[in-house]
Symmetry: C2
Subunit: 373 residues, 2 copies
């Protein structure tokens, strides 16, 4: 039995976070499973809450002998993580590497030696045992670093466009639109001839998007923002939005603009607003403050959470395979990801480094390479 | 050609509301149409906005010679009713009476002389010409007054239960639950063995519901309200709510309770909350203030508008016919409506009377009888 070093997180009932490197025994792969030697595992914004929960990371310290980062939780927050108390849990949503062992299924065997990306929830490890369906097999010559971000951002961007088609919309609005994800979304939509109304927070972000061919970019710091938004929604006919922010009144502003466009030619009472289905999905929470809805958009609107894994679960398995292939084919173009720095396990637990990657700055991205010295 | 007296509403570009009684020529019914002599047309909360828009009714006056009520709009509100400016529009969503003429279609002919309820948008009239499909044919012996409220409340209550079944929920929450509609909903659900969590605002309303057999009634004025709500949602497993209020944080409180119940046995991270679909539909707006969402309920939730007419449009026509029959069969029990007073056209335009029915007090309901002296 082979051994694997792996990062784990634990929040104790005493209110302490403990992140640590441990040795585990690697199981033999079952028929449909493969063992992947992880060579690059991104640290995504969606990894932060599992990794650290509500820990006060300014008080974090690293114990080199124990290979353990500890930090107290913020006051009164233990109840927010009730379900995980005193459980040692794996971390790392995605990553990529080489298939070094495979179960007896021919399709699993065929993956031996290949570079694959995996979605597993336990990728901050030397090795990762996953069902072969949880892999994207990459083309020859693609490195693990190039393949590392094959799932979270690419499938979210594809999933948004997929949702748009499935729910009968023809264009979409995206907030925090200059993110790596937002750029992928624009590239996908430019290729498909679908219009995206991009909402950004400053001119620099607007420029990033314009440089990759985005036609509609609205800067919310511009005093004329609402006018520009209305105009862009009018020209594109967007009735669907994906929002990464959550808090404040931006969602309400988007729905208000959609309603104005939908009702611009209305005659008579129009008591209940336009009949077009106006929908906003919240997929992130950059702003934790409450969402404020003024409800000035008639009766045909919806707001809700959107979660990649639950969305993929609704698709036909064949469609998921098609999307995986799309990602593999365009991993150096549409879905290319740029990394700021490579970290080893110990660096990932060093408080000054944690402060860097936990800042979630647009354009900064780190990954763990378990074999880095 | 026969003539019919009918109430109309007009908002002028000068910012004045004019409600008036006019004579119109009645068309001959087409093959699939019937002409109904209206004998009772309820004044529902949903009739108020079409009738009066944002008029300042404290400044209303009635001109007996012109048979016209006039009132200025509230300052700055003209843009809110842009789509209807300078158009003379009919009013009255529903009503009941006798079929006095019918098109040549045998099914239309068969309705001659019967008491029917209609949904038309022009029921504040002596006569109303409607497609036969827009009628509920009532049993012999049922009066127009008894049949007057066959659509808005009964079909909304039935539509809520229908939505619950269609979207895979097994119990539901209802706010402003002691209303006539809320009482119908409880009667339907008691009969079907479906649990309703009723949210009311005082003990008197709670008593009304308990008297008709409601098991779960939560009084939001009780300091223990949130605890009671959580308990009721836990016992019933409700994951769907219909809200008549709109503003404030009640919707968020309902979703928070649903999430607590859904995640009570969760182990591990539970980063995205329970996988159960938690949905709130807003069908009314008793509180115009903004809806405040704290989003402390994971990622699998939705909020949206719910509109009877658009919901019915999604049903199979056969199902709509079944629901109509249900209303006819139970119009004296489940769907019985009590009226406070009967008004003629002129009374309905008298400012002191308008003030009474526009107060929308729970338990007070008026109807127009065009032939009343």
């Amino acid at each position: 039995m082979q051994s694997s070093k792996q990062l784990f997180t634990l929040i104790t009932s005493a209110g302490q976070l403990e992140m640590s490197l441990r040795d585990i025994d690697l199981p033999a792969p079952k028929a449909h499973e493969v063992i992947v030697r992880i060579e690059a595992a991104p640290i995504n914004p969606s990894d932060m809450w599992p990794m650290f929960g509500p820990a006060d990371l300014e008080k974090a310290s690293y114990d080199k002998d124990k290979k353990q980062l500890i930090a107290p939780l913020h006051q009164g927050m233990l109840s927010r993580v009730k379900s995980r108390i005193d459980q040692t849990l794996p971390i790392g949503n995605e990553g990529a590497g080489t298939v070094v062992a495979a179960g007896e299924h021919p399709a699993a065997q065929a993956m031996l030696g290949k570079t694959v990306a995996v979605l597993s929830g336990a990728t901050y490890a030397q090795y990762c045992c996953v069902p072969m369906q949880a892999c994207i097999v990459h083309h020859e010559g693609i490195t693990a670093k190039q393949a590392a971000s094959s799932f979270v951002n690419p499938l979210t961007a594809l999933g948004m466009v997929e949702t748009m088609h499935m729910e009968g919309h023809t264009a979409l609005v995206h907030t925090a639109a200059a993110s790596a994800l937002g750029q992928m979304l624009n590239k996908i939509c430019v290729a498909q001839g679908v219009h995206v109304v991009n909402i950004v927070r400053n001119q620099q972000q607007a420029d990033i998007l314009k440089n990759i061919g985005a036609k509609y970019v609205c800067d919310s710091s511009d005093p004329e923002f609402k006018k520009h938004l209305l105009q862009a929604i009018d020209e594109t006919g967007a009735t669907l939005a994906f929002d990464a922010i959550g808090g404040g009144d931006l969602i309400s502003d988007i729905l208000t603009a959609m309603e104005k466009v939908g009702s611009k030619d209305a005659k008579g009472f129009n008591t209940y607003g336009s009949a077009a289905n106006k929908q906003v999905y919240i997929y992130g929470g950059l702003d934790f403050s409450p969402t404020i809805l003024n409800r000035a958009y008639g009766m045909t609107w919806g707001i809700g959470g959107w979660l990649l894994m639950r969305f993929l679960g609704k698709l036909q398995p064949e469609r998921v395979v098609e999307l995986h292939k799309l990602v593999a084919n365009e991993i150096l173009t549409t879905f290319a990801t740029t990394f700021t720095d490579e970290l080893n396990f110990e660096q990932a637990m060093t408080p000054t480094v944690v402060a860097q990657y936990n800042a979630k700055k647009t354009g900064e991205k780190y990954y763990i390479n378990p074999s880095k010295n």
